[in-house]
Symmetry: C2
């Protein structure tokens, strides 16, 4: 499933995008993730887990659950013996190849860490594994898998590690994105530019 929170999304991108743009960009990122999942061999159709009713057609089933992400996901984990995958909606570099590396390991729990020690994607195949989404969730999910005796695999992917929620992340989308999010940024004037200190940023050329 792909959790998505449509209300006031991507506030940390405020320095780079207006409120309306952030709203639109979040939906473009979601569409990219759904496209990448649909093109990943062997992955069943995902469900969007949304906090409110979506105002656009996601093209896949949408389940509305207004509770916190942790509670909503754990309810799903408790309700099934099937494998459950949770892939964040803002992985602007996700590709089918990167997602294959998430589904490939034969482990009870597969974790794809995000930059900053979050958990950007996971697959759970163990009846007792539960999630706890917060700042250091990757470290805690690693420990949680161990605590219930679940075998663990960690996916080493720059694409899956890159969740797009700060202006610096737009740099990665412009350099590596293969979906609609990169085109969306370019259409709005964003380009890569080297700064005086040798670092690279996404800067916007006003029309």
């Amino acid at each position: 499933m792909v959790p998505f929170s449509p209300t006031h999304p991507k506030t940390r991108l405020s320095p780079a995008l207006s409120a309306r743009e952030r709203r639109d960009f979040a939906r473009v990122l979601l569409a990219d993730v759904l496209w990448a999942l649909a093109a990943t061999p062997g992955v069943p159709e995902p469900t969007v887990l949304s906090t409110v009713t979506l105002d656009v057609d996601a093209g896949v089933p949408v389940v509305v659950d207004e509770r916190s992400l942790t509670v909503a996901v754990n309810d799903v984990l408790a309700s099934t013996d099937d494998a459950v995958a949770v892939v964040m909606a803002d992985l602007g570099l996700a590709t089918p190849a990167a997602l294959e590396s998430l589904f490939a390991p034969d482990a009870d729990v597969v974790l794809a860490p995000g930059l900053g020690v979050g958990t950007n994607a996971l697959v759970a195949r163990h009846p007792d594994f539960r999630v706890d989404y917060h700042g250091t969730s990757f470290v805690d999910h690693r420990e949680a898998a161990d605590a219930v005796g679940a075998s663990l695999a960690v996916v080493d992917s720059h694409r899956l590690a890159t969740d797009v929620d700060e202006p610096g992340d737009l740099t990665e989308v412009l350099a590596h994105g293969e979906g609609a999010a990169a085109s969306w940024l370019r259409d709005r004037g964003f380009v890569l530019a080297a700064t005086d200190d040798g670092r690279v940023r996404a800067v916007r050329n006003e029309p």
Copy 2:
């Protein structure tokens, strides 16, 4: 080869580490990279390409070349028909498995991008490929490979994408590092801590 610049290293880590600590930490990171390379199957012994004579025994041959990184690397590329690998000395998450993904692709040029569009590691097997290290070097190396008709592979690795040169990168080392750099940071009081905004930082507990 592993380029290393021992003079005033890691200045962007000044908010987190003293000058002496930055000097020591740079050498610990280098040792981690050399260890990971030594443990990667099929990889010959690396050479350290240093801008000045090293004051420590790297355990591998050291070539001193005081010229810029781009000039020094291109001299090596021009002097041989063998494959040349260039792996940065500050990849604090590098593991043999991650480095295997660099050497595995059967392509003329293999690039491992760094966060911020640099080039953290590459393998060159094409006689006409040359490097140009600067801010957006990954994008330019991708184009340079294309310009000389070299086949290209891009490695998707969070571990190889993480070069350690800003305080935020210490977070990744503490969460994912498997070498001496993570231990070195912990020995000096660094731990992961969640901040009020839900992000995670490496903070230092003073003794």
